[in-house]
């Protein structure tokens, strides 16, 4: 038996280093080889299984559309149908609701976090009301705001409101009082204390709240389109697909909803990473 010496031979390794400097591999190749592709194994396997199951007649293609049908339906929707309008409608109402709910949640969380009186007066009711399941609000919202855009945005805002409010409150309340003492030593006024100490100290948790809100808001967007069916939206298009028994359209909708959700999540992760790099979470 021989030992695999050539692979670990230090001379070989040393030889490779300088040559690497002169002949840089193409950027695309470096990008491809630096990524860990193992996460794609499972989706590809599922795709292959899906394809095989529909191709060899193991499933009813009326109920489970084959992958190629989903692709065709998707391309059709993108180039001939109202996909762009649906997507635009969904994303814009998502962002509108997120902004509205996020701002309101931040305001309430700040109020509860900075004022003992406000906490005593409001926090118990807030904790009780937040126990109401999100979708239980829909009947009331639809009566008050109708079935159109305002109702949907209000519902999405409600979904974004809770996580931001709770996390802002807890973030502010858990600011280390030692920091506030430092601020007093340097004669900070209330506004300085707020801007330079409390807000940054609470920011990791506020970001957590915003991140959750972004996810909940997208969830609520599809929910709102489902329960308050009027106008355009990715959710509406999926319901249409179901009503016309167009499983390609339903599955394409699923792919779109998942992709947008993943994109929003990625966006939040990166933003958080940039803004909170002082926390040294990556190292």
């Amino acid at each position: 038996m021989t030992y695999p010496i050539p692979e670990t031979d230090p001379v070989l390794v040393r030889d490779e280093v300088p040559s690497d400097k002169h002949v840089q591999p193409p950027a695309l190749w470096r990008w491809l080889s630096q990524r860990d592709w193992r996460g794609f194994a499972l989706p590809l396997a599922v795709l292959a299984l899906w394809w095989a199951v529909t191709r060899f007649g193991l499933a009813n293609t009326q109920v489970l559309a084959p992958p190629e049908a989903v692709l065709v339906e998707g391309l059709h929707q993108i180039f001939n149908g109202g996909f762009v309008w649906d997507l635009l409608a969904s994303v814009s109402r998502d962002l509108a609701g997120f902004t509205l709910g996020g701002l309101a949640g931040f305001a309430l969380g700040t109020l509860l976090g900075t004022s003992r009186l406000a906490e005593l007066l409001v926090a118990p009711s807030f904790n009780a009301v937040k126990q109401i399941a999100l979708f239980a609000w829909i009947p009331m919202i639809s009566v008050w705001f109708g079935m159109g855009e305002p109702a949907k945005v209000v519902f999405i805002a409600l979904a974004a409101f809770y996580p931001v409010a709770i996390n802002t409150f807890e973030g502010i309340r858990s600011v280390n009082r030692d920091y506030a003492e430092v601020a007093r030593v340097y004669g900070f006024g209330r506004l300085q204390l707020w801007r330079r100490v409390i807000l940054p100290a609470a920011s990791p948790q506020i970001f957590t709240g915003l991140h959750l809100a972004l996810i909940y808001a997208w969830l609520a967007t599809i929910g709102a389109e489902y329960f308050l069916k009027s106008g355009y939206g990715v959710g509406n298009s999926m319901i249409d697909g179901r009503e016309h028994f167009n499983m390609g359209s339903v599955l394409f909708g699923l792919v779109v909803v998942g992709s947008i959700g993943a994109l929003l999540n990625q966006f939040a992760v990166r933003l958080e990473h940039r803004a909170l790099k002082w926390r040294n979470r990556a190292a």
Binding site: L112, G113, T114, S115, R116, E119, I172, R173, S174, V175, R177, D178, Y179, A180, E181, V182, R184, V185, Y186, G187, F188, R190, Q192, L193, R196, V197, I198, P200, A201, S203, K277, W278, R279, N280
Partner: protein, 268 residues
């Protein structure tokens, strides 16, 4: 440069409705540019004394005067270095030092220059843009010292600043502090439970006794600098101070003292 005088300073906490004397009849006069160390066992009120002088606690008896004027609240003329460095993790080294200048009348240019100068003074040139998580304990405490000095206070208070550091780093920073004190001529009051540290740095050592915190003795340290820790005269003074702690106190459960949290009424 300021003369600091404490006249009949006393401080009580009420714990579960009972009045507890933490400090009683403290009289101390500190000359401009003097280095005074306050030593005492845990719970003798030495940190409380610093909190009174820095102005974080206004609820006391007696008078604390700087140049004859009674202190009220905190002031940029009194700096402090805490035992934990208390740097803000979201600010870089230079931003942390700059924080102390937030309310200073200096122009932005002057601020930049004085921040750079003080980082140089504590030997941290080149680390301006590092974040606290990248610093060792000793480096963090150096930044805290720079932050304490950057306003050019008349008095710098040091609350066991090296207590959490390892022995080597501590000895190193003691020598640095000595150098900074000589260079800057600022009045310094160091609270410590390390008698050797006090003997190495101070012109006078104030020994506090606990329950209630009273001045037991004031020991002058008339040794030239730099001091040699193995010098018999040094050892004699150190042992003299240590002998004040000789009789072991009766074992007792510690009572955490309440920390009044002054003017800010936040929910915490």
């Amino acid at each position: 440069m300021s003369t600091l005088s404490l006249n009949h300073v006393g401080k009580q906490y009420s714990v579960k409705g009972e009045q507890l004397d933490v400090l009683d009849d403290i009289n101390l006069h500190i000359q401009p540019g003097e280095f005074v160390a306050i030593v005492g066992s845990s719970g003798c009120g030495k940190s409380t004394l610093l909190r009174l002088v820095i102005g974080l606690d206004d609820d006391y008896r007696g008078q604390i005067r700087i140049d004859g004027e009674k202190i009220s609240g905190t002031s940029l003329d009194r700096g402090i270095v805490f035992q934990e460095h208390r740097l803000f993790p979201w600010l870089t080294v230079e931003q942390n030092v700059g924080l102390a200048l937030e309310n200073s009348p200096l122009s932005n240019d002057e601020k930049k220059r004085t921040i750079a100068g003080h980082l140089d003074l504590v030997g941290l040139k080149g680390f301006e843009t590092a974040y606290p998580y990248q610093l060792s304990g000793g480096m963090s405490q150096r930044v805290a010292i720079a932050r304490g000095l950057v306003n050019r206070p008349g008095v710098l208070l040091l609350d066991e600043p090296f207590g959490a550091l390892d022995a080597l780093t501590r000895a190193n920073l003691q020598a640095e502090l000595r150098r900074i004190w000589e260079q800057e001529g600022i009045t310094m009051i160091l609270v410590t439970h390390d008698v050797e540290e006090a003997t190495f740095l101070a012109d006078r050592i104030v020994v506090l006794q606990p329950r209630p915190g009273r001045i037991k003795r004031v020991v002058p340290v008339p040794l030239p600098h730099p001091r040699n820790r193995a010098d018999p005269a040094f050892v004699a003074i150190k042992d003299d101070v240590l002998s004040e702690f000789g009789h072991a106190p009766r074992p007792q459960l510690i009572e955490p003292l309440p920390r009044p949290f002054g003017d800010y009424v936040f929910a915490w």
